[in-house]
Amino acid sequence: MTVSQETLDQIALSRAEYEMIVDRLDREPNPLELGMFGALWSEHCGYKHSRPLLGLFPSASPRVLSRTGAENAGAIDIGDGWAVVFKVESHNHPSAVEPRQGAATGVGGIVRDILAMGARPMALLNSLRFGPLDDPHNRYLMQGVVEGISWYGNCIGVPDVGGEIGFNPSYSQNPLVNAMCVGLVESDRIATAAAGNAEDVLLLVGAETGRDGIHGASGLASRTFEEETELRPTVQVGNPFLEKVLIESCLQALATGGVSAIQDLGAAGLTSSAVEAVARGGRGLELDLSQVHRREEGMAAYEVMLSESQERMLLVVPPANVPQVKTVFDRWDVPCREIGRVSQEPVARISDGPELLADLPIVELAGAPQYRLEGSPSPDYEERQTLTMQEIPTPSQGADDILLRLLAAPNIASKGSVYRQYDHQVQTNTVVGPGSDAALLRIKGTGKAIALAIDGNSRYCYLDPYAGGQIAVAEVCRNLSCSGAEPLALTDCLNFGNPERPEIYYQLEQCIRGMARACRVLGVPVVSGNVSLYNESQGQAIYPTPIVGGLGLLEDVNRHAAAGFGGEGLVVALLGSEIGRYRAADLAGSEYLDLVHGLVRGRPAIDLRREKQVQELCRHAIAGGIVASAHDCADGGLAVALAESSILCGVGFQGNDLIARLSTSWDAALFGERQSRIVVSLAPAQWPELERLAARMRVAVAQLGVTGGDKFQIPGHVDLPLDTLADAWNNGLERALGG
């Protein structure tokens, strides 16, 4: 073997994988060929460690129009001839190295996935994780990421309608930037990424190919990293203006009907884009790299094939249609070059002018090995899950102070100071924007709306990955249900550490199993997604963080609810009002336990059938016009949910005695994070109707108080001016960012 360990490290292939390649080719690959294998066999492109597990997710429903994994994103039929396309993807490692460009190009990349389905991008969401804000480096990362999302998203005219931001020490060197994009397409015009017709021309459109992002997929996204500064050149640089004209020109090119397939250039650039397109179609390709328009002279073939320059798309066009398609790109001044063609024989032949540089069977290139590893829980796993009453002292602070601390905590405080930097209204569909449980976008020309949410709680997954996975799915569906929408389908981004370590693989497997179980019970398929592994630095893995994006449908846009109370003089009630019997269980994994007692312990749990009933009740109550608002009871527990609804409406709340009796101790009742609970407000006259409906659907409901005045009161525990609460919640994040 002539290949050096250094070369293998650079492309993140193992010696055994190299030998497998030699064995399959029956010869040694040349450096270009090896680079192509490295890219396509990376975790990022080849899903070596995750594909067998991803098969556990249910992926079918009568509304699913796409085959998961076969196209760039999932497509869901919403009726009236329309399909919604959506996907979430990570850009964690680039954002750790260069936060502004890393986050910006994360947005750009996911938008092109949606464009590759022939859909017009209509919404962005994002889920972000950072280390604690008292560390200036984490503040730098967060500000850079937010700026990057704002800069790129605003420029391309796609509204950023929602998301969430969380903080935990495990993300200190390894922030998470997960971007979700949603698009709309006529359901009979969904584009394919499968290049199935031999002789079709391959058109490379968009940006010139430069030297940026080489080894992004293999070097950056597929291993842990310790020496960040050296990796800065592997981060790509975005050009949102070009992305905007690329969106318009590609949609117009598709509208001519002359394009047979379209694929974005993302991780591993031209290599993965072209090879995956022809692999899907069972064909091969011939590329002439001398035809690729380049940003600089003297680029080696290796660099051209592995560049991750942004804002590029690959179009597959029958020869007769090429002039017509080119006319569209000329009109938009977008470069468009013929760089090769689809071949009958399933072989990738890469040349530079007359010189043949690579000659590889597609089936081997696209056939990354799959590893099924053995997981085992970490040694302290049981200790983490054990939490007894005795370990939780009675808090020295009163409920007033604790509530204010929780509301001001960056994990819970309003993210308004971030969202107002994102254009969330362009395209004029935003009925409910960021800051509610789910965003709501009307579909013009129909009476319908789609609901969108993204969520994930890594503390629960750290304590119990199986239960945490279930809760992640349940919570995003609950968010959708709180808007009145029926959850239709999910997309997921699985952010984990190094799967080659047994405790990480255990987390990954358990989490996926939990998520899959919740999907089956709640009847929602997973139709697209992305896996981000090797999120470690200095030997420390991030908390296991599955992020779930949800799509819901509201048949009547006028029948929706938002999180803020509906006004004054309303009854406030809790859906799912069973009384908890164990303080320790009710407090497991809660923000309160972490913030006030410094404990990340306990065993979170969820009853999925109960969850399903509570969500159904909520949707019925909204559709029937019974309730005026609905808010998921989540981080910070019931007191925080009530306070948020009050602040969002600008109306006070007078609670009753029941609130503090919902568990065996007041702290568990107020701040425990028991699942499957929703806070609603309704006109007093509607109460009998809600009770009847709840009884029929076998859900416990109880009145918690009434809205009105300018105070927030829970008898015996909390008595605060609403202004004080609002100040803590509205300004908590900005104060934390102020250092």
Partner: protein
């Protein structure tokens, strides 16, 4: 009536404007590509929001050189109504059709939020459907909306009644708290000398349906429709 909606590469409010004037108000409209030079078939020209040519240099600095801008200047010179929204306002200032400039927001961050606008006069072609001092709810979305003009220009604008909209609170009070970008005198929108060219940072096309939070933007478009009769 017939609106012409100018589209530069990077424009993104074009479809929103079309939805407002066609879908909501039932008028006709057509997109006008930045290379076109004939605007004779239109009653009013809209320069919509977006990031024309990416605005990497300075907002509107490249768009003013587009072929269509010569035609817009001619159209405005004939006294016909032109409304520049957000990037359109920036372009009108760069092109010299309106005085002053739009600088980066005072706090240096992009801002997308609802604002209240006080209508300073109800006799302009763009405000005849409003009452004097009426407060309109219209959102902004920009990073460079901080209007500035030198003292002499500002004095002229004020004395000639060419400030059409000012950021204010819900009661119509003009104060620093209601100004989203730090603009001088809380200016949100101004008129040219002849009164037929309006530039404004807020987006009336985003407030044309109650479902989206407000339909006050219709008052502006309806006024134009009345004016063009």
């Amino acid at each position: 009536m017939r609106f012409g909606i100018v589209v530069f590469p990077g424009t993104w409010s074009d479809t929103d404007c079309r939805h407002a004037v066609n879908g909501v108000l039932g008028q006709e409209s057509e997109y006008v590509w930045h290379r076109e030079t004939d605007l004779s078939g239109f009653d009013c020209i809209i320069l919509p929001g977006g990031f024309s040519y990416g605005d990497y240099l300075r907002a509107g600095a490249l768009a003013k050189l587009s072929p269509v801008m010569g035609a817009v200047r001619e159209f405005a010179g004939q006294g016909r109504p032109v409304i520049g929204i957000c990037n359109g306002f920036q372009i009108l200032c760069e092109a010299g059709l309106l005085p002053g400039a739009l600088r980066r927001n005072g706090h240096l961050a992009y801002r997308c939020q609802w604002t209240n606008l006080r209508t300073e006069r109800a006799d302009a072609p763009f405000s005849s459907r409003c009452h004097p001092q009426q407060v309109l709810q219209v959102p902004v979305s920009h990073g460079e909306g901080n209007y500035y003009a030198d003292a002499d220009t500002l004095a002229r604008l004020e004395s000639e009644g060419r400030v059409l909209f000012r950021y204010c609170d819900t009661a119509g009070e003009v104060n620093a708290e209601s100004n989203p970008n730090g603009s001088v005198n809380n200016i949100a929108g101004i008129l040219n000398e002849a009164g037929n060219v309006l530039g404004m940072m807020p987006h009336p096309e985003r407030s044309c349906e109650p479902m989206l939070g407000s339909d006050d933007g219709n008052l502006i478009f309806q006024s134009i429709i009345d004016h063009c009769g």
